[in-house]
């Protein structure tokens, strides 16, 4: 899978801060990751972890009061952040696509689906009207929307939530992107609809070879969908590796804590092994390892020194002074 081809995306040391009256607070704190063609990376974290900001930062879509202060986002060999805004805009929507969380607000309510899809095509290429229509119908059909010809002239409010998300995916796919960043695309949808959409995305992704970053808080979804998982906490990736490896043999206490928080392994009716405390707000990040106040393995060094990025075999990485032993589950 990874092979000899260069990675589609390589993020190096990305830092994004948010400004308020009191100062600049890091939301993404030196994030690095690599993504290859056809790969699905699950970016997992809870609120306050910075996962959404990371997704937006990779696309360069950060507005005030946020600011990307450091790092490189190498996409197909070029640093996105160093490009001019115009060049960035050209890439976004064609080679780079994003799918957002809320299907209600993703689509413009006063334009028909056809108009919005055509806009997405014509912004990036000169295409004849007949060809535009053909591509739109094709795309809609691929995401499982029946009678796409009639659907083109309908408005978003005539679609259900699940359908709207499908349309958003169709728009993302229109220009055959190399990379799709999906930010919690199924969180707002029912379980059965979520299943459908994930299935369709899986099929499409396999068919087109598009690389995908799937941002979510749902470990179950990434377990079934992702090739690799990155776990985020307080702006850092605390653990990254192949799905099976991370889920069966977590090295970071937070990952294990997340796994324990989900009812599944714990016997029915028994207390779940919870993580105490809450995620720190942006402006009150603990010194040393950000997770130390909630960690049952914390020692003095954890309070003082930020843990280094430790590398294991085959791209496995973690940030912990006292990682869980290898054999543990």
């Amino acid at each position: 899978m990874t092979g000899d081809r260069p990675p589609v995306l390589e993020v190096r040391n990305l830092q994004t801060v948010f400004h308020d009256l009191r100062g600049a607070w890091p939301a993404v704190n030196g994030l690095s990751l690599t993504l290859h063609e056809g790969e699905v990376l699950g970016l997992v974290g809870e609120s306050g972890s910075g996962k959404t900001v990371a997704g937006f930062s990779i696309l360069g879509l950060v507005d005030r009061p946020g600011e990307i202060t450091r790092g490189e986002v190498i996409f197909r060999g070029r640093d996105l952040l160093a490009l001019s805004p115009e060049a960035q805009r050209q890439l976004r929507g064609s080679a780079l696509a994003m799918i957002f969380q809320d299907p209600l607000t993703t689509l413009n309510p006063v334009l028909t689906i056809g108009e919005q899809m055509a806009e997405a095509i014509l912004e990036h290429a000169r295409v004849a009207a007949a060809e535009v229509r053909r591509r739109c119908i094709d795309s809609l059909r691929r995401v499982g929307i029946t009678s796409p010809e009639t659907r083109l002239s309908q408005y978003p409010h005539e679609f259900s939530g699940g359908m709207r998300q499908r349309v958003a995916i169709a728009i993302a796919l229109l220009n055959s992107p190399d990379l799709i960043i999906a930010d919690e695309p199924t969180t707002a949808l029912d379980v059965t609809i979520q299943g459908q959409i994930i299935a369709e995305m899986q099929a499409l992704q396999r068919e087109t070879g598009t690389a995908m970053i799937w941002i979510t808080h749902d470990l179950g979804v990434v377990a079934e969908l992702a090739d690799r998982i990155a776990v985020m906490y307080a702006g850092d990736i605390v653990e990254i590796g192949a799905t099976d490896d991370v889920l069966d043999r977590p090295r970071h206490p937070y990952t294990r804590g997340l796994l324990n928080s989900v009812p599944g392994d714990t016997a029915r009716g028994e207390r779940l092994r919870q993580i105490d405390g809450t995620a720190p707000p942006l402006s009150a990040r603990p010194t040393g390892c950000a997770f130390h106040p909630r960690c049952d393995r914390a020692t003095d060094i954890c309070r003082r020194v930020e843990p280094p990025d430790t590398a294991g075999p085959a791209g496995r990485r973690w940030r912990c002074h006292h990682p869980l032993p290898e054999a543990a589950a």
Binding site: D20, D276, G277, T278
Partner: protein, 305 residues
């Protein structure tokens, strides 16, 4: 008990005060535009309160001025050596003193009528929203009815019926203004009523009155208060108009509008100051009120919070 505590967030203090609250205060201190408007408003209120000290003459005391001094231009001196900084009117009243007293009347009318209209309108709005059904229909039709008439017309009719005087003017303004607040309050209250903390209040078997006035009303006030700050200015304008038309405050207690009206006849002969300076004062008062109201609306916008 303690076992449960140690496992939860009791050890961490709750999140700090929302930045919004502090930002508003800090912003007020820092942003010169709000500061300027507040300073202007504060200055006016201060002056209004301190005018017995500042005014060289009590314009209500008919003995303190004489017709001999009438229509003197700004800067002239009176018989007793007092300087008429802004001139005198046709009665010999010092314009500056008249303006200072007049602003008090205008401000009083503006604030009192708005406060009363708010009280009535807010109550009607909440009751209509919560009780629904026929009560709501009845009240809202009444509101529509009142809002269907031009404000000045209603006020004129009322004043023709109840007579002149500062208190009567306030009543006339209230009769029209309350309907605005009722309408806004009703839609805000309808929105709040659907929220879960109200459902919780019903679940806890609180009496209807408590739910209306202790739960729904305080949380629906935001939208109304913002409108109210702007409506103080329009109440003042309304009073000025009514006085200008001759049905507002009595001649012996002139408001700014009345002063403008009294000088109207002399504009063409060059004695501009009798209308001009009161007009400027009126403008300044309304402008500052609108300004602060606008800024307050932006600051109170819940989307910023």
């Amino acid at each position: 008990m303690t076992a449960a505590r140690s496992e939860t967030e009791a050890l961490r203090p709750p999140l700090a005060d929302t930045p919004a609250r502090r930002a508003i205060l800090a912003g007020l201190k820092r942003r010169p535009r709000i500061r300027g408007a507040l300073i202007a408003l504060a200055a006016i209120v201060l002056v209004v309160l301190l005018l017995p000290l500042l005014a060289s003459q009590d314009p209500y005391d008919l003995a303190s001025f004489s017709v001999m001094d009438s229509r003197l231009p700004p800067g002239s001196e009176s018989m007793d050596g007092m300087t008429f900084w802004l001139g005198t009117d046709s009665q010999g009243r010092d314009m500056l003193s008249a303006i200072l007293y007049g602003m008090r009347i205008s401000l009083l009318v503006g604030l009192a009528s708005t406060a009363l209209s708010l009280a009535i309108g807010v109550t009607v709005g909440v009751v209509a929203a919560v009780l629904g059904g026929r009560v709501e229909a009845l009240l809202m039709r009444l509101v529509d009815f009142i809002l269907g008439f031009p404000t000045i017309l209603v006020a004129l009719v009322m004043l023709a019926v109840i007579g002149r005087g500062v208190d009567k003017v306030i009543i006339a303004i209230v009769v029209v203004q309350w309907a605005n607040y009722a309408r806004i309050m009703r839609s805000a209250a309808l929105g709040e009523r659907a929220k879960e903390y109200v459902e919780a209040a019903y679940n806890l078997a609180y009496p209807q009155r408590r739910v209306m006035f202790r739960h729904i009303m305080p949380n629906s006030l935001n939208a109304v208060l913002v409108i109210a700050t702007v409506h103080v200015a329009s109440a003042i304008t309304l009073e000025a108009t009514l006085s200008f038309l001759g049905v507002g405050v009595p001649v012996t207690q002139p408001s700014l509008g009345l002063l403008v009206a009294s000088g109207f006849d002399y504009l063409m002969s060059g004695d501009y100051w009798i209308s001009f300076y009161p007009g400027i004062a009126l403008l300044a008062l309304i402008f500052s009120l609108n300004f602060v109201g606008d800024r307050l609306r932006t600051a109170l916008d819940p989307k910023r919070a």
